[in-house]
Chain length 138, copies 3
């Protein structure tokens, strides 16, 4: 059976995470495979994807606070500064997290653990529109 491909857009509110679990599960349901493999891909280099705890929003805030301290905006180290102090730090944060995720499909849905959610992580300060693809094979 051919691969099933679905694309959607996420409007972000600036730096921080937002859940895309429902959008990913919806794309997997539409693929109509009982068992297979789902991959999620984001088509940008200044935001990324993570799987992280879906229960306490403090986890997302703490993660962002950690990365903001680890990867300072406007670091004197950077030469790529034309787009502002949060541009190069966004590229670094993207590389330290993930551009693609793979999740098994079992029983027609992504077999995430109880506490796992899929999040788009916007690393730029300003709101952006971000393209995400879900591909289901198997």
């Amino acid at each position: 059976m051919a691969a099933h491909h679905h694309t959607f857009t996420v409007s972000t509110a600036g730096r921080g995470t937002q859940s895309i679990t429902a959008e990913v599960q919806s794309a997997v349901r539409a693929a109509g495979r009982d068992v297979g493999l789902c991959t999620v891909f984001v088509h940008h280099t200044s935001c990324s994807l993570i799987i992280n705890e879906n229960a306490d929003p403090d986890v997302q805030r703490d993660l962002d606070a950690f990365l903001t301290r680890l990867v300072p905006d406007g670091d004197a180290l950077y030469t790529h500064t034309a787009e502002g102090p949060d541009d190069m730090s966004a590229h670094v944060r993207s590389v330290l997290t993930a551009t693609s995720l793979c999740i098994p499909v079992v029983g027609g849905r992504c077999d995430l653990g109880t506490w796992q959610g899929v999040f788009l992580f916007e690393h730029r300060a300003a709101p952006h529109r971000r393209k995400v693809s879900v591909t289901v094979v198997g």
Copy 2:
């Protein structure tokens, strides 16, 4: 041919890595595909997966020492502290490493490099039971 899905459980001894290469190769052998794609997924947000050197155990110890220094337990930055000083740091360590891995299948087995092993990385201080899935497609 449909995807092949296999799940197993790993009992960890607390923070640190343990090899799951044998379990992954066994699941791939059972899938019976000559060429394809194997993905490994861990269903938790406070442990993760890595591919790293399989020869000198000092590599695993040094990696854990590096992450313990980079991501301090009980950091005053964290507000998500209800489950103890190693809880939020475990989530950060999980995001900085990987929840899913993809490995090519060639000749009926994962085509890992000579020095590559697949490891489950427990980030919590206490022992846990962790669910891992291997999905083979192609």
Copy 3:
């Protein structure tokens, strides 16, 4: 349809990134699938793969400078030192970035974003020859 598997070798010039986007797109074209999934895998533990900005080479230089500061060579923390001061730091840098990437295939090619390139990231100081696999399924 069976998976399509292709392997190529990259000669690196020592620490830093080099684009492998053309090699990956060529392997995907040879696979002859309209829609599917491409995975890229590197068979080593002291180099890695990233997707990052393909336009301004300063982005690659800044990323390497950031990692060189974050993961110091010859760190007194390390016990795995037999192969030189850049050996254990290379393993850490490998784990903080990625050994495998997944990219959707649409219209017979990797559907990368406008600014996305695929790069091999050499973490050792000396030049190396590195094996990369591209697997296309779906």
